[in-house]
Symmetry: C2
DNA sequence: GTCTATATCCGGATAGAC
DNA sequence: GTCTATCCGGATATAGAC
């Protein structure tokens, strides 16, 4: 049960942070939602709310990165189409969760960027991990290392930005439009790469 | 002085919300920062914190939209280059403000999207206003109405997403990379449009 | 319009019994 | 490991003197 309680606390905190943000969520609420006591949170996370939040960012970041990686790996064979499918899946998922479950750390990242250095560093680490995974994937589209990284940055920034607009408007159209543009850009990047290497 | 106090309250609230978020900022702090009393906030905003926040979103959204519009209008004559210059300017500005002053309403938008319907609607209105302005601008790049709107969505989502990554990493590289990709995409969109209308 | 005082509640954090 | 009780500060909001 010990391990379970710790996991339940992390899961509850992750869900609440995603929907209400970091400052908007109290330890009391996390305890209630995870069927634990506030004392238990301090038992497992001696550093208090910040220590718990670092763990939420770390584990949530890893889980989300793995989920996106699996989605791209199991999607269409054509990597450009796989990117488009990912945006479509995000649009479907977000609408299905009443526009609540978008990026697990974006809200926290903006809240703490200028106010809490340890948490800011944790969010930066999660984003960098995702970028590395996406960059590897984008190497299937272009051989140019800088081009692959730039494309990966564009995929992630477009996704994060579209999450904001989609949640605000409660309309997945921004996510779909961003997906269309990413596909168009990736197509252009690939054409350029093929061109540079000589057409096949 | 009456009018001044109200303005000072809105300005202070906007600055604090941008750096600490909505739930992370208290009325006491807003009062201190604006050299007013908490009672004065309730005098001017009978609806309390939410009424003040709606006004912050409304006026801040209009001001930011006007600023971006002026930046694009006074930038390079080539509209595609103007978009690239806008991202570069954003990178410079963000670094100059210690990575604090990015989008005035993005943090609020994510915090309230699932928890406060009146504020969520206010943020959606601000984003939609910006999108309309950007779409008009993008008509200089493509005649296709859907294409112009899609490009506008991409510009805004890439900008918002890059703000998140840039603030988290305290490194403007994400904004620069997003700018490069937006320029590349806009170039491809324009080529397509020219192609459809017959090359000049 | 401005300012003080205060009501009520919730925040994070801690001590110690069990 | 779990649970209760509690400290202390800060949150939003209100009442009323000036």
């Amino acid at each position: 049960m010990a391990r379970d309680t710790r996991e339940r606390i992390i899961t509850a905190a992750a869900t609440l942070f995603r929907r209400q943000g970091y400052t908007g969520t109290g330890l009391q609420q996390i305890a209630t939602e995870s069927q634990a006591r506030v004392g238990s949170i301090y038992h497992f996370f001696a550093g208090g709310k910040d220590a718990l939040t670092v763990e939420v960012i770390r584990s949530g970041g890893a889980a989300y990165g793995a989920m996106v990686g699996a989605l791209l790996a199991n999607g269409p064979d054509d990597p450009v189409e796989a990117l488009g499918a990912m945006f479509e899946q995000a649009a479907v998922d977000l609408a299905a969760t009443d526009y609540a479950d978008a990026c697990p750390i974006a809200t926290i990242a903006l809240e703490v960027a200028s106010t809490n250095e340890p948490l800011r560093i944790a969010t930066a680490g999660a984003f960098e991990g995702w970028l590395e995974g996406l960059t590897t994937f984008c190497h299937q589209i272009t051989d140019d290392p800088t081009g692959a990284r730039d494309l990966a940055v564009m995929v992630l920034t477009a996704l994060e930005g579209a999450f904001i607009l989609t949640r605000a408007a409660r309309d997945p159209e921004a996510l779909r439009a961003a997906g269309r543009s990413v596909v168009q850009l990736a197509t252009a990047v690939r054409a350029r790469s093929v061109d540079a290497n000589g057409a096949s």
